[in-house]
């Protein structure tokens, strides 16, 4: 299977002598649906930033589709849902305006949207089930619907790799379930490689093919059902902060 992400011997610290991540070896194949879990402060968000090329490893190599991640040439093909994504500032950005921002990439930053851009924006809104709210300000929607709007934004860029950082923060249990089903549908129908980063993985546990547990190093990597039952216990050492 061709690799979407490859980390070889990656270590990282934000200052000299610090080790947020150490000796990470990780290969994610194209089309995989992977959950990266671990306690807060365990390094999973840093790992995600290295995967996306937003941070460079202190040691080791990070590759995206075979290219150094920080110099990756196909950035338009990366979809990203930031932690606690919300429309910025006080502007009442509508769902359509948020999703249209997903058609922005390094390739074409000047000028208006083209007809095919509008089509992709409408398709992305429909895929997450927000057609009826397309012209509603995002800030007036529930947390779950806001997340859907930002997932649509990521989808509008037609990503081959979709990375979600703590997508269920501030979202109720019912919305977490429907978010997990939406992602499973995207994975099944579009074959998008999905990396789901969260300190909890309950909602997607039944949909992901692979779980990577990070606590400075990778302490588990395999199918969720292989995870020892005790690790599902929030009080266990690998789940504690």
């Amino acid at each position: 299977m061709p690799l979407a992400v490859e980390l070889r011997g990656v270590s990282f610290g934000y200052r000299p002598g610090q080790r947020v991540l150490e000796g990470i070896d990780l290969a994610l194949g194209e089309g995989e649906f992977v959950a990266v879990a671990g306690p807060n402060g365990g390094g999973k968000t840093t790992l995600m930033r290295i995967i996306l090329g937003l941070e460079r490893p202190s040691e080791g190599v990070a590759l995206l589709y075979g290219e150094p991640a920080h110099r990756f040439s196909g950035r338009h093909a990366l979809g990203y849902l930031a932690q606690r994504s919300q429309a910025g500032g006080d502007a009442p950005a509508t769902v359509r305006e948020v999703v249209a921002a997903g058609r922005m990439s390094s390739g074409r930053i000047v000028g208006r949207l083209r007809p095919d851009d509008h089509l992709l924006v409408a398709e992305a809104i429909a895929r997450v089930g927000l057609e009826a709210n397309a012209d509603t300000p995002v800030r007036t929607l529930s947390g779950g619907m806001q997340q859907r709007a930002f997932i649509a934004k990521a989808l509008a860029g037609q990503p081959s790799l979709l990375v979600l950082d703590e997508p269920t923060t501030g979202v109720d249990a019912e919305s977490q379930e429907s978010l997990a089903e939406l992602l499973a549908g995207l994975h099944g129908e579009l074959g998008v490689t999905i990396v789901y980063v969260s300190h909890e993985f309950g909602a997607v546990e039944h949909h992901v093919q692979r779980l990577v547990l990070v606590r400075r190093t990778i302490v588990f990597d395999g199918p969720p059902h292989d995870l020892p039952g005790v690790w599902h216990d929030p009080g266990h050492m690998h789940a504690r902060e």
Partner: protein
């Protein structure tokens, strides 16, 4: 009123700045950088002082200082490790201190300086209007061309960074636009009030609008109306034009506040 040449020139200059200031301020407000224009204004003050000292056009030197100050804030913030408000404060205070020193050297604590601090739109010449129209038109064209990119950064800066949008270049472009707006607006409302025309119309529109685009369009309409109404009131009531324009914009915000408070 319109039979007077100076009022026709003032209304034309006021209209251009009334549209440009909120169009640029819109992106600053959404990024919670409402005081950025104020900081650049203080750097422009040093530029005015340098112009008076060197006996060259103070508007030109203010423009150069403001652009360099805006770029310095962005570079300090992105590469110097200073948080946004610290970078702003550093350039803000350095600008005003430099201005005070240069003004003292020039012995120019007089009417010449005050017209830049408080505006002097009634002394705008045809040559000034050409400069304001050319630079203002360029500024508005840049906003129109880069609207989608600026909006993408406002909506989700980290997402835009991942997608390869050149955030650093866009920030420099916005800082330069702000600097040009400040330098042009100096003649209309003065350095001390320049940021008000960039912020108040946007805040008023934000209470009434239903989307980002409608906020931008409404903000420019409120800015334009504030300039025209403010100049008209100042003409008939013999009030300072700069202060009157800003008070009208503040009034527009209060009206928007009252309208939305009643609706909620």
């Amino acid at each position: 009123m319109l039979e007077s040449e100076f009022m026709r020139l003032a209304l034309a200059a006021g209209a251009i700045v009334g549209v440009l200031a909120p169009a640029v301020g819109f992106f600053l407000v959404q990024r919670r950088q409402s005081l950025f224009g104020d900081g650049i204004g203080h750097v422009a003050f040093a530029g005015v002082a340098a112009g008076i000292l060197l006996d060259v056009s103070p508007v030109l030197t203010a423009l150069v200082f403001a652009v360099l100050g805006g770029i310095a804030i962005e570079v300090l913030r992105s590469r110097g490790g200073a948080a946004g408000d610290q970078a702003l404060a550093l350039v803000f205070y350095t600008g005003i201190a430099l201005g005070v020193v240069l003004v003292a050297q020039a012995g120019a604590l007089n009417v010449d300086l005050f017209q830049y601090l408080f505006g002097s739109i009634l002394t705008v010449t045809r040559g000034d209007l050409v400069t304001i129209a050319l630079l203002g038109g360029s500024g508005l064209a840049t906003v129109a061309l880069l609207y989608r990119a600026f909006a993408a950064v406002v909506i989700d800066e980290e997402g835009a960074r991942v997608a390869g949008v050149p955030i650093g270049s866009l920030n420099i472009a916005l800082a330069t636009l702000t600097a040009v707006t400040v330098a042009l607006s100096m003649r209309v409302v003065g350095i001390l009030l320049v940021a008000a025309l960039m912020v108040l119309p946007v805040s008023a529109a934000g209470r009434l609008a239903w989307s980002m685009r409608s906020t931008l369009v409404m903000a420019t309409a409120i800015g334009l109306a504030s300039s025209i109404c403010g100049l008209t009131i100042s003409y008939y009531a013999d009030l300072p034009p700069g202060g009157t324009i800003v008070l009208v914009a503040a009034g527009a915000y209060l009206v928007a506040l009252a309208a939305t408070a009643r609706g909620r």
